[in-house]
């Protein structure tokens, strides 16, 4: 079970680290979206998630390093979530004032949550369901993935309708579905964690079925992310016939 517990989250973290680094280092014009999504991957899956796991392990061992590691994990997760909020706004709703307000409120929520957790008596209890400040940050982080999933799947649906008119490219259309699936998997992971914590605390979170489901979601999120942002040659080749036909053929399944 320990291998399974590490497989999905490990793969997700590794993929986030590699893709995030490549996107952050990208040069050229209009690099803000690449920078934002890169920071989101690095802050969330790349560093935040592994540090949360490490923080828990250290806490169980009673190590004095538990608190600082969990503090860094929290800050890292919040930076990643802020970047994801900003990415979704900039890509899908750049001119809308309500979207900008939403991002400002999210940053405010994360900041208040962080201050609240710093100030609370049970410092950095990342999986402490009795701490309201924990749930504020948790909710805002989960919502960042939720909004990303919603916007990407909505736009992907629009792109699919354009396909039959020859107004969109099949490979790019599929990217929205992939990113939507990856973000949806992250949301589900948050939901499972929330239910586990609400029902039975950290013991439930480490139980077999929850670990298996979490691992599956980690693998799904990593694979979709990889195919969406760095599609390999064989994957691109699947869309070539439809591309040559001017985007009027059905996507491969």
């Amino acid at each position: 079970m320990s291998f399974l517990a590490l497989l999905g989250p490990g793969l997700f973290s590794l993929t986030s680290l590699v893709i995030g680094s490549r996107l952050v280092m990208r040069r050229g014009e209009d690099r803000l979206p690449a920078l934002l999504i890169g920071v989101a991957f690095l802050g969330g899956g790349g560093f935040g998630q592994p540090l949360v796991v490490l923080g828990h392990a250290l806490e169980r061992q009673g190590s004095v390093l538990a608190v600082p590691v969990q503090a860094i994990a929290l800050v890292s997760l919040d930076i990643g979530a802020t970047a994801l909020w900003a990415f979704t706004w900039q890509v899908f709703r750049p001119t809308l004032s309500w979207a900008r307000t939403l991002v400002v409120l999210a940053v405010l929520g994360l900041t208040i949550s962080l201050i609240g957790q710093f100030a609370s008596t049970r410092l950095f209890s990342l999986l402490d369901g009795s701490n309201p400040w924990f749930w504020l940050g948790f909710g805002v982080r989960a919502s960042s993935a939720g909004w990303a999933a919603f916007e990407s799947l909505r736009y992907g649906d629009m792109m699919r309708r354009r396909l039959s008119l020859g107004l969109s490219d099949p490979l790019t259309t599929h990217r929205f579905l992939l990113w939507g699936m990856s973000a949806s998997a992250i949301v589900l992971f948050y939901v499972i964690a929330a239910v586990s914590l609400a029902v039975g605390g950290p013991e439930i979170a480490t139980s077999g079925p929850v670990v298996a489901l979490g691992s599956f979601l980690g693998i799904e999120a990593a694979a979709s992310m990889w195919l969406a942002f760095f599609p390999p040659g064989f994957y691109r080749a699947r869309f070539e016939p439809a591309r040559r036909a001017g985007g009027t053929e059905q996507e491969p399944r």
């Binding site: 979206p33 690449a34 736009y155 309708r161 354009r162 008119l165 790019t172 929205f176």
Partner: protein, 102 residues
């Protein structure tokens, strides 16, 4: 959110060339755009031309309007538009760049 110049032009022509009211003309174009997976604020000239040729005829017939009475003028006016008619960088162009396709 303000609509694109292309959308405004299409509505203006449809209203002038048919007996549809301003509101009805805008609604008809918006419905056609929705069916095509496009948005009024982001549509460019070439996309509107495709919608005009492939989606709009059906919408006009459904409203008792003869497409040939409207579409030639609409297509001509759209094609007379020059310059960059798209208002912003689209999500698809961003995703293409992110994946290194641009």
């Amino acid at each position: 959110m303000s609509a694109s110049a292309v959308f405004e032009l299409a509505c203006e022509v449809l209203e002038a060339e048919s007996d549809l009211s301003r509101l009805e003309a805008r609604g008809t174009i918006r419905l056609a755009l929705k069916k095509a997976g496009l948005e009024a604020h982001a549509i460019d000239r070439d996309q509107m031309c495709v919608v005009t040729e492939k989606i709009l005829p059906e919408e006009l017939v459904a409203r008792g309007i003869e497409p040939r009475a409207v579409l030639p003028t609409l297509v001509r006016r759209l094609r007379s538009l020059t310059g960059d008619t798209s208002k912003r960088v689209s999500p698809e162009s961003i995703f293409r760049k992110l994946a290194g396709d641009a």
